[in-house]
Structure formats: C-alpha cells, structure tokens
Amino acid sequence: VSAFFDPELYLRLYAEQAILERSPHERSSWESPLDEAADALSAIGALDDETLDAIVDDYQLALSLRGRESGPPRASRRRSSGPGATVVTTPLIPDRIVTCDQELEQSWGRLHLHYVALGEQSTSLAITAKPMTDSSLGRHGLPVALQQVALTDDRGTTTSAHFSGGGGSGGWRGHLTTNPPLSRTTRWITLGSTRIELCEQEDREPPPVSIESVPGRLAERYLSLRLATAGHLPMIMAPDGVEVSIQTLIAAGALDDHDPIISVAKAVAHSSPVHGLSAQSTLPEPWASLTGGLRSGGGPKGVIPIGVVTPPIDGVTIRFDVLVSTDHDFSVQAATSPRPNSGFMGSGNEARIAWWAEDDQGNHYLGGIGSWSGGLDFGQGMIAFGVPLDPTAGELRLTPTGLSERAVVSLRLLPWAVER
C-alpha cells in the first residue's frame, strides 16, 4: 500500500460521492459498492475491520435515508460471524459413502438410490423418485410416502428421514436425510420394507489431500478470488463490484493501473456464461475455460465417493463427501466449518472460498453454492459446477481456494460407476 494513500479518507470520499450520485445504479442486494471497496481495503490490510465497518454502516444508513442501498449492516455481520465473533468450529469427520445405484420398486413408483452417506451428524440417501400413480402424490406432486420415510440400521435403530430436493411431474431428485444419524458402520439399512445392503464396491482409499500457498501478489490474489466469488452462481461476475475492487486497489497502490490482471479481470467480469467471450483465447487459464461458453451434455454419468476432510485453508475446514456427475453438469456434496464467504452466502468478514476444480485434460471449473444448510460454525450442501465434466478426463482435482491457501483433493475418475 502506498505511503501516500489514506484508506479512511478514500473510503469516506467514495461514500460521499455515492451520496451525491445523481443516477445510482440498480444493484442486487448482495452487491454494495461500499462493501466492495471496504473488502478490498481489508484484504490488503490497509485499514482495520472495525473502522471499515463503522464507515460503511454510517454511510449505508445515510444512503438508505435517500432511498438507496440495501443489505445488512457490516458491523453486526462481523459481530456475528467475523474474526472477532465467537464462532465455534466443528471438527469434521469424513462420511462413509456407499454408492448403491439400485432401483427399488415402491408401491407408489420407482425409487433410484444413488448412494448413502453415513455421517456423524446425519445419514443421507441420494435418490431419484419417479411416481407411477397420481393417487400416491401429495402437495406439489411429491409422493406422500417420501415426505417421511422410516430408516432402520443393523443395530435396530429406526429413525425418520425427510426429503429435500426438487422436481415435478417428471420425477424428483434429492436426499432423504435423518438427524440423528444411523450407525456409521451398519451393514445394511431398511427403507420401509426394502432392505439395502451397504457393501463398498471396492476398497477405495481416500483421495490424497495437500495444502498449497496461492501464488501471486496479494492484490492479484484478492482480485482473482473476488472474481470467483462474485455472485450467487459461479458465472455471475457482477462487473460493477469488480470495477470498484480494481479502482480501490489501484488507488491504494496495491495494483498498477497497467497491471495485466486488470484487463483479465474486466474481461472476465463482463463475460457471459452462455456465450463466452469473443476474445476468450487471449485469457489465461483458469478463466479461458470458464468463458468459452457453456458446454451442454456429454458428461459422464455416475457417482464417486470422496470421503475426505481438508486441513483448514484460511481457517476453513472442508469435508468433501461425494461427486455426482450427470450428462449436463456435476456437483460435489460438501460441508465446511466455519461458514465461508462464497458469493451471496456469508459476509465480507468471513474467509472467501472459491470452489475451483481442474482436470487432467486442462479444463478448469468454477463451482458455486447450489444448496446449503447450517449455521455459522457448520454447514453442508451442494457445490454446483453448472457444466458437464469432460468425459475423457481421468482425474479431477478439487481445489477450494482462499486468499492465501488452497487445498488440492485429487480424485480418480475412471472407471465411472455408470448409472442405469
């Protein structure tokens, strides 16, 4: 940071300009320019978070009195979730994942069981349901029998599982989850009157995990992280916010205004996830992979158990449970402690995590939070990647990336346990 740069004055003058702005942009609720500027100043250590929070909150209130801005106050977010908060981290233990790929005939239709995840906190069955009779359907077309299902393990423990997921007349896809969990070591479970044997198909070792430092200068790393966690889905890049980050980093002297990362960041921020960029070939990876336009179809179909917990990256521990690949996209079931900032979820005071992945064919993928539940100290859900995996890839490396550290989880993809 330049010795001649006054970060507090910069942020306050920026806020005064926002007050006097004649035609303020319509912005989404998770996109506050003041927050953006404050986040950038915080990331490069230009000003302490308490001062940043106070300035942003005072001016957010002033802007709200002028019918502008939105979003929760920064200081209260920090008090509840930031570095000064009393967030209790939860030790994460890998789930036992058993892939099943079984078709179960039910009185109301067919239930396809993809895998069972037996964890410390819950037991979860990934299913696809296809009702055959209208009379079995409840509200919204979900089979009544799925709304609450009795599951029993080999210890005789019986508990109710509740469905979460989505679907419609063509079928339902989601999870039957129990809380409390069934026995992690059970050899079988019964679902209603159907017994399901839980035998691991092969003696699969957990994938190797390593931690790496993120290369590059601090400002460059922050900008890349900011780009990768911009919106509520991986490819919504929110160009206004990225522009604010760039201007702030330049003003602070943390970035030269001719730095190559700036043109890359602007090109990525203005890219379209569907159509890609005309100048995509000039972008370096990983961005070139993302801006080439969405591939549609052709992904390998199957489920790969992961069952691994990473060491903390920038203070966030991640548990990867299972990779699910379909024709049109892939996703990873995961849990974290504490909650990270991944786009719309979380706040500027929590560690940002970008859900990167790369394969051995040179493709890069960026995931976003598809569904999530939990609190500040623990949460779990689905990281959605929105595009299909390259069917020729033999290895996928999951590389969740923070500002200074990233984890690398190397998954062997082949052979796929192809679903029916």
């Binding site: 004055l9 306050r12 005064e16 709200s64 502008r68 979003g71």
Partner: protein, 269 residues
C-alpha cells in the same frame, strides 16, 4: 469564530407531537430547548425512572449524547439537491423517541426506514434509531443540529485538539460532500468534478477552475460560517465570512469567472 457563529443564526422552532399536544423544540445559538416544559431537567429524571414519556424530553436526552457525533453530518443533507427522506415520527406518546424506527437492516429499501406503531411493549430503541428519531423530528432542525456539531469540530480543529486530528479524514469527507453539492448546484453542473482541500482556518480560501473541474481550498469552518446560512448570494459563492454583526454581514465571495475573490457586504435587520 465557529461556535460564536451560531449566535448569528436566527433561532428555529420545530413543532413536534409531545404528550398529545404540539410543542416547540427551539434551537438557539447551538442550544436545544424544550420551551413547553418548564422543568425539563426534572422531567428527564422522571422519564428515566419510568414516568410519562415526552418527545421533547427524549429529544433533549438524545441530543445530549450526540453533541459532537459526526454521524449527524453524515446522515443530514449536503445541499439543496440532496433529498433526505426522514421516516415519519410516531405520534404515539407512550413510546420513546426512535422506537420502532427499526431501520430494516436486512432489507433497507426505498422508504423502508419507518416508524411503526407497536402493538406490544416495544423494545428500547437502539442508539442508531434514537439518532434517526431525533433528526426525523424536523428537517430544518436536523440541519441546525448538523451545523452545531460542525461548529464543535471546527473549534477543535482550530485549537489543534487531538480528537480533530484523529477525525481529519471524516471531517475532510464531510466538507467535501457539502462543498461539492453546493458548487454543483451554484454552477448548475450536477456532474461536475470537484476536488476539495481542507485548509487551516487562517489560510486564504480559494476556488479555481481547472481542466478537470473545480478545485476548492476551504477550511472546515466554512460549513458553519457559510454553508449553514446561505452560501450563494447574488449568484456569488461565499468562501468566508469577513465580518458579522447585527447590522451587516461581510463575505468574501467569488463568481463564475473565478477571478480574485472580493468582499460582498449585506445589511442585516
């Protein structure tokens, strides 16, 4: 001169709903007075002990805690084109000022900062709600309270007070917003680039036109001495007060040519 300058402001009466009546809250030379309460101090004590609530007394109590609160200058208007939409004060005499002014912090949308009549015992208003509640009583009173706070900080700056040195960035930004709003309005150029350097009170104030816009060199006390009264007179922008007494006001002013500033004297009264 800053706090002294407040004596040259005409007093202001704000009319507020208080205990089912319309009362006057008077601002005079930087003081806030509840003119319809003979024993305001005694009523403050009774209210604190759970007695009847009075809007006027609540206002005095809140103001006493924010005499030098720079947030008042951040929240209030910068100039004539800066429209602040204050939430409508509650007319319920039983609740503390600011109660229900729950700034909907999870979804501040246009006009969502509202006072809502509570249906059950309302929670005590937060300090932020209290402050907004005070300023929302009357927009003109809010301006006068802002000028009063500015006067306190102008004095601290002039005296080399360590608090003013610590708050220099905040004071500079506050001055910047008001100068920018005023100059843009004066020149009729709403998007004009305005740079502001906050100078010492004894340095000569200037305003110059540059290729990029306007560069102003003004002291923080300009807010108190000039901005709070009428910064534009006869299409000239006032840069400083040269002399002020009950009979006349002498100002250092500049015009659209940005030539050498020259005095402009007005007869008062």
């Amino acid at each position: 001169m800053s706090v002294d300058a407040l004596r040259h402001y005409p007093q202001l009466d704000a009319h507020v709903h208080c205990a089912g009546e319309i009362h006057r809250l008077r601002w005079h030379a930087g003081e806030l007075i509840a003119t319809d309460h003979v024993d305001a101090e005694g009523e403050r004590v009774l209210t604190a002990l759970g007695g009847q609530r009075f809007t006027c007394i609540d206002a005095l109590e809140i103001w006493a805690h924010h005499l030098d609160d720079l947030r008042i200058l951040i929240l209030t208007r910068r100039g004539p084109t800066d429209q602040v939409v204050w939430p409508k004060p509650s007319s319920d005499p039983s609740v503390a000022l600011g109660t229900g002014a729950t700034v909907d912090l999870l979804g501040r949308q246009r006009g969502s900062v509202v006072f809502a009549a509570p249906t059950t015992a309302p929670p005590s208003p937060s300090p932020e709600e209290q402050l907004v509640g005070l300023l929302a009583l009357d927009a003109r009173l809010a301006d006068h309270l802002a000028i009063t706070v500015a006067a306190t900080w102008a004095e601290r700056l002039a005296a080399g007070d360590v608090r003013a040195r610590s708050a220099r960035a905040a004071l500079t930004a506050i001055l910047h917003g008001r100068v920018t709003s005023t100059v843009r309005s004066w020149l009729g150029e709403p998007d004009l680039q305005v740079d502001v350097d906050m100078i010492d009170p004894d340095a000569p104030p200037t305003l110059t036109r540059t290729a990029d816009g306007i560069h102003a060199f003004l002291p923080f006390e300009w807010i108190v001495n000039v901005w709070g009264r009428n910064p534009v007179i006869s299409d000239r922008l006032a840069l400083a007060v040269l002399d002020c007494n009950p009979e006349r006001l002498s100002l250092l002013t500049t015009d659209h040519t940005f030539g050498e500033p020259r005095p402009l004297t007005l007869s008062l009264g």
